[in-house]
């Protein structure tokens, strides 16, 4: 080496695209981009098929008529649409009060004690319980014991099974929504003499309304699309709903039943029902997104 350290030439700092490491970096970027494309592809394909195969079947009869007997043409999915609405309402009526109440406890009353930690842990564990297990559980305590007037399969049993799946989401969103409310607001309310109950009901809950509503809307959308807990709790019915103590049709179970039938007319109804269900769920998701943006302003 003849070059002394004091006279070292200035290294070339310009970017050289031909360097092996730069080529490798670009190759990996390309692969990551390809992976993203593969990730998005199923959504595009599923939506496209649901739109093409189901969208063409949309007619008034689809919403107002009963499904045809196996092998026959025509008919609609009116009973399944009403059934899905009824079962979702039952699930919501159970899960929303319980979940919001549980969330209020976690956010407002617990001070990070071991009971609250246990409930938070339990909420996470419950959200990881497979949906079919909720069905098995409700089958075990309601359907097989026939505690509702001796009836076994019923809309009520289906709604209860769905409410178990909604519960963790509602608790978590209520908890997180209430935690976002600034403590100054609570102190202000308590300072002017409001009781704890009035502070929560009149001040903190309304302030946290949008995040809670967002979570509730998303959980209802999820419940409406669930099938596994319904197939042996609400079962299915080819007729119009006969009250909440009898088996009831739902869109998701109709899709399942009709997809595996060897008749083309039934398969087409399954696609049409998928179209209705997916549109409902996407609308709920966009609504929740809009609510969230509305809250951010």
């Amino acid at each position: 080496m003849t070059v002394s350290s004091s006279a070292r030439p200035i290294p070339d700092l310009s970017y050289k695209p031909g360097l092996q490491r730069n080529l490798l970096s670009r190759l990996l970027t390309l692969i990551a981009g390809l992976f993203s494309a593969i990730c998005v592809l199923p959504l595009v394909l599923v939506l496209a098929y649901v739109l093409i195969m189901g969208g063409g079947k949309i007619s008034l009869a689809l919403f107002t008529q009963l499904p045809p007997p196996p092998g026959l043409e025509g008919g609609g999915i009116g009973n399944a649409i009403i059934g899905t609405i009824i079962v979702s309402i039952i699930a919501g009526l159970i899960a929303i009060p319980v979940g919001v109440g549980g969330g209020i406890f976690l956010a407002e009353y617990s001070k990070g004690g071991s009971f609250a930690q246990f409930i938070r842990f339990g909420t996470n564990v419950l959200s990881g319980v497979p949906s079919i297990i909720a069905g098995v559980f409700v089958y075990g305590i309601i359907v097989s014991t026939r505690i509702f007037f001796g009836n076994s399969y019923s809309a009520l049993a289906g709604g209860i099974a769905l409410s178990i799946l909604m519960l963790p989401t509602v608790i978590k969103t209520t908890d997180e929504g209430l935690k976002l409310v600034s403590d100054d607001l609570r102190r202000g309310a308590l300072g002017v003499g409001a009781s704890r109950f009035v502070t929560i009901v009149r001040i903190t809950l309304p302030t946290a309304f949008t995040p809670i509503a967002t979570g509730v809307v998303l959980s209802i959308a999820r419940a409406a699309g669930e099938t596994a807990p319904l197939i042996f709790t609400a079962l299915f019915s080819p007729f119009w709903p006969e009250g909440i103590f009898n088996p009831i049709a739902s869109l998701s179970v109709l899709i399942y039943n009709f997809a595996i039938m060897p008749y083309q007319a039934q398969n087409e109804l399954a696609w049409a029902a998928s179209f209705v269900l997916v549109m409902f769920i996407l609308a709920m998701n966009l609504f929740a997104r809009w609510l969230g943006r509305f809250a951010a302003k």
Partner: protein, 316 residues
Amino acid sequence: MSPDTGEQYLLRRRPASEKLVDVSFKNLAIALASMVAIVLFAILVVVFWGSLESMGRYGWKFLVTSNWNPVDDEYGAFTAIYGTIVTSLLSLAIAVPLGVGTAVFITENIIPPRIRNVIGVMVELLAAIPSVVLGLWAIFVLEPFIRPFLTWLNQAFGWLPFLSTAPMGPGMAPAILILVVMVLPIITAIARDSLNQVPIKLRQAAYGVGTTRWGAILNVILPAAVSGIVGGVMLALGRAMGETMAVTMIIGNSNNFSWSLLAPGNTIAAMLANQFGEADGSQVSSLMYAAFVLIVLTLAVNVCAQWLVKRLSLKY
């Protein structure tokens, strides 16, 4: 001016009714929060209780034999347990690189924020598509599309036990692919959150010493986010194990055991979905036993996942 007696500043005394409302509201909230624990506990008790009969009769043999015969009252769930574990693990093996790659792509400033958001929203919407609709799509679109490819695999590599049968429609392979679609959004979302939590200084330092983008990602950013990503992968594993409808519709629901991924198979969740409605007697108990196995598997995986996710938030 009259002398200030201070009377107008007297604090209002709380009436007993107000205190009662306060206390009962608190107790109500506690009671409602306890519902989570009660439901969780009740699920375990009910399923365990229901499976006692079958547990007593078959014991451990239930887990390792694959003879499912309602006519002779012979039950062994190995086919379903094998199917559950193999489909969920293989679907993760495909979904993890895809999901983490996508998460890197939409967090590391590679593309404009607008496109990043679009990809993020689309992945979230994919999670909202009901399982039963994906199952319908798998039956009529995915499976016919991949069947020629699977047939070729069988012809070329049929000497491998995992590819030893000719594909005949429904089977484990299409079920694995539809599971990939179902767990991708979970992995992508959690990997994205973990990557976003990596401190900006770490990135700046990595670029400051002159590394390339992927040098920084592979050596600094991903290792810093790894515990969160692994937690997300565990959550996805729990979801894949319990996923029911799409798998039930495409896996073929065969109780005959086969090592082959191209043959029809079964999972615990699919078996429950398929048989519970028509089961009676000791079959119900055996299905409850299978359900109990599924609960134990998913609980173990979920508890591990939560432990890992919790560790991430402590690290930085």
